[in-house]
Structure formats: structure tokens, C-alpha cells
């Protein structure tokens, strides 16, 4: 806050620009994808970058992020979906043109509408997270932070349902976890854990669907009301990381 300022002159300090940048993630055909734009101009002309833009004088960073998301994806209904504030990147030289402080967000989309190129982006596309291309500015760092945060929040929140359509099977939900964590999960145990966590998912009576055009039709579920999962759905132990 400006609480310790002694003056009120708006121009006493070098102006800061504030932007909102977005790491928009989705799961397409079993793999994690990220929405990127190709920059049309220098610096970093021709490089891929995260979508984003300036925060306008009368909006919050969250509002700006939601507006940019709608503009870049062509989605009309971005009011309901989950925006997760990651952190703010404020190194003085992160943009060569001027002092830009960026508030970064992660957004999770269920099914990926084809993006449309924005006003000054050459094009926009969903690219696979593995392997991720080189990105402009410090956007690789932001994207990695987004992936870390989302991976961690899958453990103890119902966030995974944000990657799914309104009605989904437990197999589809499991594919979300596997795509984000880069692991494979035991189907039976996953099922039991999800159903044992109150409020995570709710059955849709009578509905059934094939998950990948194969196998036995699966029961269909909706996202439940729980914000946090008790008990959490812990990811499998990795090297140096016992149970």
C-alpha cells in the first residue's frame, strides 16, 4: 500500500505498468496442453508467449485476466471458471521496454475451443506441455510455476473437475490427474479414493458413457460442492520421496 508515502503526487515515481498474464491449461487427448500466442512484434517477435495484457485503470488484475482470457479463447462464458493467482513477477529488467510488473494467473479449461488470434498476436494455438517450446520474457518460469501449483492443488482440492466437462466419468477424471502429474494411477484405488472423499463428485443418476470409445460404459458424475478434499488424493511417491 502507499501507507508510508508522505506525498500524493501520482507522478512522483517512475510509472509502473501492470499486466495480467495467463497460463491457460487444458487436457487434450490425454496430454496437457497450454494456450500460447505467437508474438507479432519485437521484442521476441516470432516467439511463443503466454497470453496477457495491461490491467486497465479501473479493473483489478483478476478482472483483466478474465477479460484477456475471453478475448484470446473466444469463450463467452468465462465468468464461472477457476482463475488461480500464481504470483507476481517484478524483476526490473524482465521487459526490455519499460518497467512492467506482471500478475500471473493459471486458468483451467475443460475442452479446448480453438483459439483465435488476438489484436497483436500473429496466431494463437494449443501446444503440448511436453515438450514446451521456448517462450518470450520469463514466461517459461511462469508456466513452470503454474504447472507446479496446479499439480499441487489437484491433491487437496477439487480443481481437477475444472479440466472436465460438466458431466464426466471417473476415467476421464483420472486422465486429468495422470496428464498433469505425468504418472499413471491405479484405476480401482483411484475410484475408491474419489468416492470416499465427501463432496468431491456426485453421481448423475442413470447416465453412462464410454470414456474413449472403448470398454464398459462408465457411470457419469458431476463436480461436488467440496472445495477441499478430505482425505487428500496424494500423488504417488517419487524418487527420494517415500510414501
Amino acid at each position: 500500500m502507499g501507507n508510508t508515502s508522505t506525498g500524493y503526487d501520482k507522478y512522483a515515481y517512475e510509472p509502473f505498468a501492470v499486466t495480467a498474464d495467463l497460463a491457460v491449461l487444458t487436457v487434450r487427448s490425454g496430454a496437457l496442453h497450454v494456450l500460447l500466442v505467437e508474438r507479432g512484434q519485437d521484442p521476441y517477435a516470432g516467439h511463443w508467449a503466454l497470453p496477457g495484457g495491461f490491467v486497465e485503470p479501473r479493473e483489478s488484475a483478476e478482472t483483466a485476466a478474465r477479460r484477456e482470457l475471453a478475448e484470446e479463447t473466444g469463450l463467452d462464458d468465462v465468468t464461472g471458471l477457476h482463475l488461480e493467482q500464481l504470483r507476481t513477477y517484478s524483476e526490473p529488467d524482465r521487459d526490455p521496454r519499460m518497467r512492467v510488473v506482471s500478475v500471473a494467473f493459471a486458468a483451467l479449461l475443460p475442452d479446448a475451443p480453438e483459439p483465435r488470434a488476438g489484436s497483436d498476436a500473429a496466431r494463437a494455438a494449443w501446444l503440448p506441455y511436453h515438450p514446451a517450446p521456448a517462450l518470450a520474457f520469463d514466461h517459461e518460469r511462469i508456466l513452470a510455476d503454474a504447472h507446479d501449483r496446479v499439480g499441487a492443488k489437484l491433491e487437496y482440492t477439487g480443481l481437477a473437475t475444472s479440466f472436465c466437462p460438466p458431466e464426466f466419468t471417473l476415467g476421464e477424471l483420472r486422465h486429468v490427474y495422470e496428464a498433469v502429474w505425468g504418472t499413471s494411477l491405479d484405476g480401482p484405488n483411484f475410484r475408491r479414493k474419489v468416492l470416499a472423499t465427501p463432496g468431491f463428485v456426485e453421481p448423475v443418476p442413470g447416465a453412462a458413457r464410454l470414456t474413449r470409445g472403448r470398454g464398459k460404459p462408465a457411470a457419469v458424475y458431476r463436480a461436488g460442492p467440496a472445495a477441499t478434499l478430505h482425505p487428500p488424493l496424494l500423488r504417488p511417491a517419487r524418487e527420494g520421496r517415500p510414501a
Copy 2:
């Protein structure tokens, strides 16, 4: 980032001021305390507020936070201690004077040096977190977010040692958890869990100390190299939150 900007005119947008605000926490005589400053001028003259100040043109928000922390506490050595970026508060009207975007940090101090009043703060003091006084601006929200974050990070990181002096007993470490979580923990089980977590603490050979001037002298430990705890030290279940 300004990546999607079409212009380079620094003054094309209404200037934003960027500040760094700090929720500085410590444990004093078994209770969680927070460092607050009393504002000397309007708005909110006479109210308590979090310490903080403007980010200068050539420094990052982290650097600014560390500088403010040194100025407010009189600590010389703030280079080593842990600063945790919380989130950024950017609602347009959060400061009545002008557009101020605040990057908030939490800082954890082991033992509390008496603060000294800053340039334009009437006074500075450690106040108990329970009950916390009314704060200026949206600082109550920021402080609550800091408490949530620190409480959560105690579970899966070695952060608790940041509240302790370089050498500490397991009793002192347990008091940190109890003060932040507002619970009481079973001593024997706490001890086993801490020692079973590789890299959390390391014994200091031969040393022993009384924890509150009472009881059997306790073995002394140092913070270990582990950044994350495996297995984590989960806080006890609360109402509606089974094991």
C-alpha cells in the same frame, strides 16, 4: 508483461503505484505475534497497518520487501531469512488516494527485536495475533491470508525452523506449531515425526538446554537441509475434517 501492447509510451496509461506490504510474524512467549505500525497520517491515521512501502524504480518487489523489513525492525541481517510471496492485491479502490497495487509477503522471525518507528509511522510494535486489532486498508485480509499460508506450509516444509533461533529444542519447535495452528500437539508423537522426516532437523552434539526454565534439559537441534517434508507433518483433524 506488456507483450500485447502496441505502443511503447510509458505514460499512455494511468500510472500505477506498486508497493510491497509485509505480514511479519513471530512467536513470543508461546503466542503468535505480528509486527504492526501505527499510521501517522490520513487515510487511516491512528490505525494499525502492516509495514510496507513503495517499490522503487530499480528494485523488485522482493527487494523492496526486504528493505522495508530491515527499516522497520532494525534488523541488520535480513539477507538470509525467508520471505514468502503471498499474492497481489489490485482492487481499484483499495487505497482512496490513487491506484495502488500491493504485492504482499509473509516474513518469519525467530526472536523478536523491538521494532523502531519508521519515517512516517507513529510507532511500531509486536501485537498478539489473537486478538488482532482492526487494520487499515485491506490489511486484515492480507494478514489472514498470511496466517493461512504459513499454517499450511508448516505441514509440508521446514518453515517452522524460521521461527526458531539457529539452535533450538524440539519443545521449542513444537511450540511454534502450536502457536500458529492454535492447537496442542502430542509431545512424543511430534518428536517421532520430526526425527523420522529426513533432513528436517539435525542434532547438535553434546548441547542441551532447558525449554522454559523447567524440566529435563532437552537435546538441541539445527535446521536441516530439507526444503519439503516427507512424510508431511499434518495438523490434527478439525470439525468436518476427518483424519
